[in-house]
Symmetry: C2
Subunit: 216 residues, 2 copies
Amino acid sequence: MKKYAIILSGNGVFDGAEIHESTMTMLAIKKHGGEYQIFAPDMEQYHVVNHMTGEEMNEKRNVMIEASRIARGDIKPMSEYNESDFDALIMPGGFGAAKNLSDFAIKGPDCNVNPDVEKAIKDTVAAGKPVGALCISPAIVAKVLGDVELTIGQDQDTIKGLEAMGARHKKTDHGEVVVDKKHNVFTTPCYMLDANILQIWEGAENVVKAMNKKMK
Amino acid sequence: MKKYAIILSGNGVFDGAEIHESTMTMLAIKKHGGEYQIFAPDMEQYHVVNHMTGEEMNEKRNVMIEASRIARGDIKPMSEYNESDFDALIMPGGFGAAKNLSDFAIKGPDCNVNPDVEKAIKDTVAAGKPVGALCISPAIVAKVLGDVELTIGQDQDTIKGLEAMGARHKKTDHGEVVVDKKHNVFTTPCYMLDANILQIWEGAENVVKAMNKKMK
């Protein structure tokens, strides 16, 4: 049974992990015979957004505590991730990937990546194990690995940002997966396109199927 | 295309809507050709729970604003629900159903149901349209309708509570759906059993398929 580590960045598309992408990633792993452990950094969120209005709320929330809502309490701090315990690493999207796991949403190509997330990606890639990234999460992979082939869909400004970090971008449509064979990186656009929830499921399932195939 | 109204009770199993059940309900509706609008009561949550520790947090959160995280912002207040706009009504579970939509978790069979939720169920049943309920949400249906056949799985204490409100309970296992043909009520146990995420998907899909069949 292949064991995935899933990295979440909070709980909600505008300031954390995208909930549908996170849930579908878990479902896809389980449906295709795998198991998973969820991780998130134990740190304060960049900010808290009212998802009805888009406005910032005068609150502080912790990334790991909020992500534990998606995980139903079964979550570990990112600092405890050890690649030797897992067969694969995967990151759903949501602005949390670009506000909490990194600050790509604020600083663009000059962004910083959370050191525990950076180490997790580098260690996993160095061990020859697959790394998956959905939606905007490929921006993190681009910053960490530089010369990597990936996709965030079709948004021109984001594509320019990824290319400025050294990545090679391939345009994709709903459910398509880009595979970087050198680094074993698997990416799919999900909600970086104007998608419905069924298309998110297709993207999550396709990326997990591609990663499983690599692990056979 | 059949249009569902989905009632959410927050965002997180211990104080709001169960996230996997909510997401899977949306996916099941979309996969089987339907569409949906999400509703939640515009009210303060009963309390806020740290999902890592199970302890109460010294915070206040609004049910509709938190539920809008699952809805990606596309949500309406429960008070705006009108059965004539929809073909079916469905409630995922989570403690929010028993703490926010009702106070069944606190008062048991003597609970009260949020008046807008009660009206939504009564109006929908009166119009002969199907009402679905997952996990602990059937407790709300039991309180509102009384003599109705339903399931919350196998938990004896909860079953006694439902029966005290006049309901007839049928024991079920993962993915099974109980249909009350008189009221067109469709229930499935989901996380009221010790379930994995794939079993939640099966439950959500089966209840939506059963409701769709009724609407044909």
